[in-house]
Point group: C2
Chain length 249, copies 2
């Protein structure tokens, strides 16, 4: 079965962790794809360029200047750095944005009403669903022995690049391909107590998740990740794993 792996900024921003990950990923058996984010460096570059990063509900607001930065960081530095590291491990990776081969066409997110009742335009931000993916193109690359590496920069098909959420891109790819989904990050899994790394919750179903939310045990970036995971499970993804990759390799 195909596996979609997703890594985020904390792995990408730590050269030793990233090299470890690339080695494990290259050695992982079976068809596989990688999706990555990269917000740690993006925030740093934005700051240096005088672009103030704004986040609402854990999601970045993307004006034209911010779009240029995230495209530089995600599609440029991280995508090519990861692809070069994978090539060195004998993994024939190919880096892709959604515009490359028109593989992912996102739709620009309309302004939404947030918790306090105000309207927020997320700017050049796109939403992606399983039907956004050009599946035959992805399968064609994999049939040639290539390993697609997706940054979460996509396009609208009319010339506009759009910033999309890497967790959502990974979930959409897994759903479209009927693949397992592995969210890799620096912890062993979702923690019952965020201050205790050993408090990993071995399995989470909807009921447990609702209770965890009610108790405030999961918060921040983990909330949308788990929401996305449950959407993926409801749309054909057989299994979602959240934690250090090594466990499943």
């Amino acid at each position: 079965m195909t596996t979609v792996y997703k890594i985020g900024g904390k792995i990408l921003d730590d050269e030793a962790l990233l090299k470890d990950f690339c080695r494990s990923f290259a050695a992982a058996p079976g068809p596989k794809l990688l999706v990555h984010g990269g917000n740690v460096l993006a925030s740093r570059v934005q700051e240096a360029l005088g672009v103030t990063p704004v986040r609402i509900d854990g999601r970045r607001v993307t004006d034209a200047a911010a779009l240029q930065v995230v495209t530089m960081v995600y599609a440029g530095w991280y995508n090519k750095h990861v692809v070069a590291l994978l090539q060195a491990e004998g993994c024939n990776a190919i880096g892709l944005s959604g515009s490359d081969g028109a593989v992912i066409t996102a739709s620009r997110r309309p302004p939404i009403t947030v918790a306090d009742g105000s309207t927020v335009d997320f700017g050049f931000v796109g939403d992606v669903t399983p039907s956004s993916i050009r599946v035959p193109f992805v399968n064609g690359l994999m049939d040639q022995g290539l390993v697609p590496v997706f940054c979460a920069i996509n396009h609208d098909g009319r010339g506009q690049l759009l910033n999309t959420n890497a967790d959502t891109v990974a979930a959409a790819l897994a759903s479209a391909l009927g693949a397992r989904l592995v969210y890799c990050f620096e912890q062993d899994g979702v923690l019952a107590d965020p201050t205790d790394p050993s408090s990993v919750i071995p399995q989470i179903d909807c009921a447990i998740y609702e209770r965890l939310k009610a108790f405030g045990a999961v918060s921040g970036g983990m909330l949308p990740k788990l929401d996305t995971a449950f959407v993926a499970l409801r749309s054909g993804v057989p299994e979602v794993f959240i934690g250090k990759t090594q466990i499943r390799l």
Copy 2:
């Protein structure tokens, strides 16, 4: 016959020129590839990040910080922006660095002795020849109807990205593919008098080029471009055109 087009920073940095170019390029008949640079924005981002751009003989010196910037700008912003614009024009472009599918493997340039006798290490800079190109992979993409768009960021196959000269990458691709080579830029061609846009030299052979150099009529960035053009002509490229694209479309 396949045509390799190359565009530089001045077209890339002018949104109206770039859109014009993308429209012309998308409409150009026959198999085609695009190679782009992007040094105008790269210098601007380097400055903002406090990285001082250094050039020797028209070529950038690339330390680790500069490599990160050029990879962000060339492989990230420009590559994906151009691909998205081409997709909007119905051209099924796919952006590539050399690490993607291991399509171009560069060799790191050894330190060289320059005009004043001193030794210069160009840093993370690679050299590319026709044998650096994985031709079957490029042809395979074009056979699928894809139009490859190369940034001049390549890799050494051992995990290291390398900055390469976009003119040289275009010449190496043209030579490896037996393709025509078109250097597109904002002037109508090579000028006998750089201050007079109408002084285009209609045709340049080796003898004329040597005389132009002796009189100081060509200088700056045009020198390595013409040198590269003559190397390309001697290594199987049937024709090199330097000037505004529209002329040959």
